[in-house]
């Protein structure tokens, strides 16, 4: 209906041939006998037949299988450990904490989860928190931020973007950082202890810088520059997000990790693509060549449980993972490569048979039969 009444030509036709590249002049003289105008440009004519494509299939097969194996091995070499600490089960240590659905509970609830690593984690270990059934990619949620404010723009600081509504102002004061994303900042605190066989709990040093992208930390996120170096002075006249306990300038004591350039905030602000996601929380740096970063043994995860997820059946996890050139552990790519490579190889064989059966015909004179 719509298309049928698309009558572009009614008007366009008015100048019919006139605009045509053929134009007025082309009519009166003989066109050039050039390869282009006579459509005789030398061309490569790919005709897909069993004969012509089967080398490609074999090549793909031969390339993909080793790549797949490589990827698979790499992925398998990555060590990963994951604990769900949501506290859904009655038996789970965090069950009590998880019953608290409120953001504004003044009393922090803590719980600890014990776990053991069967294998030592060599090299740097990345500590993630993972959320499931958490739609950080919701359209309106994704939009609910003011990048300009986060970039240190003073005007936006005082007058955040309308996109932040309804987390734009509170009690007449602009919220810094505004918007739903910042408002829902993940605020559990995770601490990791190594249970020494002798019974002592050795806290493991968790590095909280270097977890955000360099560009985010140094370009995209910037604290507003005001009078003096005191952040609280700069953020004067703004208020904290509704769900927050602290002001943005109280996120950390380190001035390089405070305010908008707090890396936890930056990481959180990079909204996740899928409802099950993980975010880098801390890095456990390797302490020298002699010992593994996380030796095998028992560990305790101490959680300050603030973040309510039970209301929407969300899950919270803590993930420890080493990393390779291909990122975290994911056997999918390796398997997929191997599968596709094998399928291609198999199809190559099929094509070879077809080529032998039918292909010879196409080269003969009875092509026309």
């Amino acid at each position: 209906m719509m298309a049928s009444s698309y009558s572009a030509k009614e008007e366009d036709g008015h100048h019919s041939g006139a605009p045509g590249p053929g134009g007025v002049n082309a009519k009166s003289r003989k066109p050039d006998n050039t390869a282009f105008k006579q459509q005789r440009l030398p061309a490569w004519q790919p005709i897909l037949t069993a004969g012509t494509v089967l080398p490609a299939f074999f090549i793909i097969g031969l390339l993909f299988i080793p790549i797949g194996i490589g990827l698979y091995v790499t992925s398998n070499n990555i060590k990963e450990y994951e604990i769900d600490y949501t506290g859904v089960d009655m038996s789970s240590p965090c069950f009590n904490c998880s019953q608290n659905y409120s953001w504004n509970s003044t009393k922090p609830c803590t719980c600890s989860v014990a776990f053991s690593l069967d294998q030592p984690f060599e090299s740097n270990v990345f500590m993630y928190y993972g959320l499931s059934n958490y739609y950080q990619n919701h359209r309106r949620y994704v939009k609910s931020r003011d990048d300009s404010q986060l970039n240190g723009n003073l005007n936006s600081l005082k007058d955040p973007s309308k996109e932040c509504e309804p987390y734009r102002t509170n009690d007449g004061l602009p919220i810094a950082p505004c918007g739903a994303i910042a408002n829902s900042l993940f605020n559990d605190t995770l601490e990791l202890y190594y249970n020494d066989p002798n019974g002592t709990k050795i806290p493991i040093r968790l590095v909280k810088t270097g977890i955000a992208w360099w560009t985010d930390k140094h370009v995209k996120f910037r604290n507003p520059v005001g009078d003096g170096s005191n952040l609280s002075a700069v953020f004067q006249g703004t208020t904290k997000p509704v769900n927050w306990q602290k002001y943005v300038y109280q996120l950390d004591t380190d001035p390089d990790n405070n305010g908008f350039i707090n890396e936890d905030l930056i990481v959180w602000m990079r909204t996740a693509a899928l409802p099950t996601f993980r975010k880098l929380y801390r890095i456990i740096e390797k302490q020298g060549d002699a010992t593994p970063t996380l030796p095998r043994g028992n560990y305790t995860l101490l959680i300050t449980y603030n973040y309510p997820v039970r209301s929407f059946e969300g899950r919270k996890r803590m993930i420890l993972s080493t990393i390779s050139w291909m990122g975290g552990k994911n056997p999918f790519l390796g398997i997929a490569y191997i599968t596709v490579g094998s399928v291609c190889f198999f199809l190559g064989v099929v094509l070879l048979i077809i080529h032998h059966k039918y292909g010879s015909r196409s080269n003969n004179a009875d092509i026309a039969s």
Partner: protein, 1371 residues
Amino acid sequence: MESLRWVQHQCRRLLFPESGLSWYSPADSPPQKNRTTSGDSPAYKPAGKRRMVIARQGPYQDEYCSISKGYQGNRIRTTKYNLLSFIPMNLFEQFHRIANLYFLFLVLLNWVPVVEAFQKEITMIPLVVVLGIIAFKDALEDFRRYRFDKVINNNTTKVYCGKQRRYVDKCWKDVCVGDFVQLACNEIIPADMVLLQSSDPDGVCHIETANLDGETNLKQRQVVRGLAKQGSDVIPENFDSRIECECPNNDLNRFRGLLENPNKLRVGLCNDNLLLRSCTVRNTETVIGIVVYAGHDTKAMKNNSGPRYKRSKLERRLNTDVLWSVVLLLVMCLTAAIGHGLWLSGLKNPAFIIPDGTSPVLAGFYLFWTMIIVLQVLIPISLYVSIEIVKLGQIYFIQNDVDFHSGRLASGVQCRALNITEDLGQIQYVFSDKTGTLTENKMVFCRCSIAGVEYPHEDNAQRLELYRDQDCDDDDDDDCHPTVKVKSRSSLRSLSCRSLNCNHSSVSLHTLTGCEIEPGLQTEPLDGAAPRQVAFSSHMEKDVIPDPQLLHKLAQLSSPTLPLLDSMGDASQEIPYIIDFFLAMALCNTVVVSSPGLLRRTTNLTLEVPRNPIRALEDIKLLFPRFGVPRFASLSSPGGTVLQATESPSNFTQRLLFRMKGSASSFALPKMDIGEGEESQVRDPSPAQEELGALVSEAAEAEPWLEVESGGDSGLDQDEVEELMYEAESPDEAALVHAARAYRCTLRARTSEKLIVDLPGLGHLTVPLLHMLPFDSLRKRMSVVVRHPLTGQVVVYTKGADSAVMDLITTLKDDRQAAGGLRHIRERTQLHLDDYARQGLRTLCIATKVLEEEDYAMWLKRHSYAETSIENREELLQESTCELETNLTLLGATGIVDQLQEEVPETIEALQAAGMRVWVLTGDKQETAINIACSCKLLRESDKLLTANCANKEACEVLLADLLKTVEDGRGTVSGFTLVIDGWTLELVLRGGQEDSFLKLAGCCRAVICCRSTPLQKSQVVQLVRDKLGVVTLAVGDGANDVSMIQMADVGIGISGQEGMQAVMSSDFAISRFKHLRKLLLVHGHWCYTRLANMILYFFYKNVAYVNLLFWYQFFCGFSGSTMTNYWVLIFFNLLFTSAPPLLYGILDKDVSADILLQLPVLYQAGQDSLTYLPSTFWYTILDALYQSLACFFVPYFAYADSDISVFSFGTPINTSALFIILLHQVIESRTLTWMHSTVLLGSALLYFVFTLVFSSTCVTCNSPSNPLGIDVRHMSDPLFYCVCVLTAVLALLPRILYRSISNSICPTDLMKAAQLDRLNPEERKRSIQLWRANQLAALESQSGGGGPLLINPEDEAIKQSGSTTDSVVS
């Protein structure tokens, strides 16, 4: 369309009243028409549909103002817009397209906060780009028009100025209705004017209408009768007559009005008095006319119909599929909406939901609209713009094909319809005109039959053979001689045309849209204009070799002695017939005589040629004895009046001619009646001879009409005679005049009132021309009423189709003997006619009639009444004309050969091999048509001919059933059937509701020939086939009679031939030769169709594949309408990164080379069956697109599942692999890849990478919230990203590659096989093609049963009974 124009017009008026006013002559008067004037001048109350014109400078100045204020001035304005109105009006116009409205709707939707999907500005980009491109195109066009208008408006012409009392130069735009305009030779007429005065003594003026209709022959225009007789100059101040005429209309060939003197004397005005705007004055020193229509009211501007818009079959198919896309879109949006509602209702107060109190249902409803915005690309809006661009490209290549320019006459191909190129590749039925389309329309006189005696003209036939050979040998040398001759004229023409080019474009560009054609024809000095002239006067037509026998008979007229007189007793009675025959040939036509030496001036009539009077006397003297003078005293004329020899000189000669009539009986039956006595009488040396001679010479002095001019002076050299050029409206007229000239019966000059003819031995004779009853297709004949140069009687000469003339031949005669003789002549002539027709000659009958003075006077009275009446003038004229053309005496018949164009049989064969049904629709006789069909291989010897001629409806029914039965019985025994049906039977079929059985019958036949069909029938047949069978039809023709057929067919092709430009003007494509149809259809048609079909499918694929990526993501974002892609990339993906390759694909892709397509016409059938784009193909494409999008989404999904990837990072690998997939998909689908393809493909990919990289490294806060800072840079330095992209692309494209390669290997299509032929070396290819053809033939034969060729003549009893001869039926 009409209403749109009206709206435009109204808008223009509303918006810019000042510009509107300037169109009307008095600038301060309101732009209203007749209505306002009615109150002012009660005396001349203009009727509602009339227009009153009085002289502007004339005596009634006051009245002039009141009457003329509503009339348009001569300024033309063909632009649609002006500077201020451009933007609002162009937008207004563009939003008439629903697609754009859809776009606008999306943009507006995006401004609704609850459904907003993207940033408001971004959604506008596609709309702005599309509107911008089209607006730019429109603006450019409009500017061109503006420039043309300006040039035209500023042309100068001489207009009478009341103050200065003389003609002064004025711009065209300042000319008003009622102005007197003076024009000189070769000037262009600035407005429609009534011719008031001509420098020509006879008050005629010639105009050339090439600018209007492309016809180059001169047309004669006549000063208003009554005015010319005043003799004096027309003085504008004293011009007190009023002209009343019809309101402006667009009929070029009709003008009705009257001129009323103050003393209420009314003179009728007709088309002959009107000088049309943009025509050129020729052959006349000066003319003066009064403007009756100016500016946009002129006929030329009224003919300003824009080009037609046809919808191609492919486009209809496309539209259904677009509707399917809409359905798909709605389904997807609905899914998302419902999903969102359900998802929301299952959530309780999560952290990531912004609380706004909307219920899940409402949120789902909002989301529906959001999704429409998000998934908008699914409706391929850009497809429409792309198709337009692709078609422009295709047309560019068609027009640049050098093969269409081969041969000397070829002027290339003109694509006048922009939007149906792909229909050329799907033609199933071809309807062809015969004359001028299959044949040259170069009429060459071949043979004739006079008074029942056939003159075979054998030498002439030999000569024609010679020409045919020569024509094949060298196209270029052939015309060297005529070209030289024409040079002077063409250079003159080109000169004048250059100055008028502007004017011309004003007419054509916006009016007849012929701007492409005309300049080519006009400004080309030797290639364009010359051939047309040559065509009218080539050797072939001119140099008729007379038949010795006839020449001999004729020579007796001039021979001083009569040595053979004795032995030619019978023949002597033929001589009057022969003289009349040649006189009719020379007189009964509309040929304009000109000689190039005088620059298109008609040979001066007043030229007094001194001639030896004695010889003239001698000639006449010699005439008489031979006519048996002694006998005539006793002879009673057929009319019954006995003439006295002594009555008067005029009567004497009259009798002479009457005698001729009477004697017809005697020589026609030579063996019976003519006795010795008669011979002796003839031989008898009459004593009255001397006396008679004296009488005649006396008569010559006494009677002005018997002006026996002497022409014997040697000064009148033969050279000058040779220089005469004849320009005829139809080539057969010229052929007859040339033939008459070969017998030294030369038409020397023509005016509206007299003709000058040379007769052998008699020299110049002036023949007063009393009336000209022009040819029309209804009567199929024309007549002239002249005063016979020898007898002084009023004589009617009629020339026309044999069917039209034979029935008018008088049969009832008192004199039984004479009647017998006449019947005998008639029978013999009919025999000859049939014979001619069998040989494929065009036949014309020539007849005459002598009118009594009283009868003539009576008829004249009625006729002039008819001429002056304004209402139903046509009917009255027709009536009076038919009244005159009765009781004719048959003189003889002519056979004119019309040679087949080169390569016609090959072309028809190729078209048939390509699966097209070729129908020939012609107005010719059945025998002629069959003969031509045979010679052009439409009809093969082994075919069975089915003839359908019947007289009434019942017979028709029976006949059709019978024929159908014959076909069913005969199937397998013959190679094919050919149906021949005549116009009358066709009429019965069409009216009698037997279309179905006719079509069924026709469906069984390989070819159908419709003869004796009228233009209306032609279009009816086309319509019937097109609508009932639902096939794609093509009509090809060259003449005005083909126009309706051309317009009716899906594709109309005009052949720019001999018969003017009307067919070309109404066509979609114009070619110069029939043979070009072959390449146009088989190669370009095939390419255009496959290219466009493939491109459209690709577009659907592309959009579905890409949009579905967004859709799949909805399942992972709670159906919230999120996109994982940066909005800019999203918009640019369609607009920039993937827009150019499909265009190139649509313009340049070439599945099979032209060479092979031409050699294997069977390949065309792929297009006919729409194999490239079947409904199922669309769904396969959609399925593939869905699969590919699934692969493209889920490979990255699984690769990045449960990782820390962010929304917009996740989009990058998906986008990138989608780009690779989409581009590589095209590589798979392309049949040719040239350097241009690779450039564009690589360029597109590169553009994407450059854009994203630059964007992601610079955009910090520019594009909230999806600032891509760092994303792409990071990805592209990540090996995983490449792993994902490669895997995705391979996985997505695997099925298609596999399917293509396996199907190409196991059951390759013909096209694929042909494509492989291209790769072979020339010899192998040749062998393969031969083999293919042989196989094909074998397959055909086995299909038809393998029966031997069999020719069954349609002499079955059944047919014979129900059918009767055409002629009697027609009557």
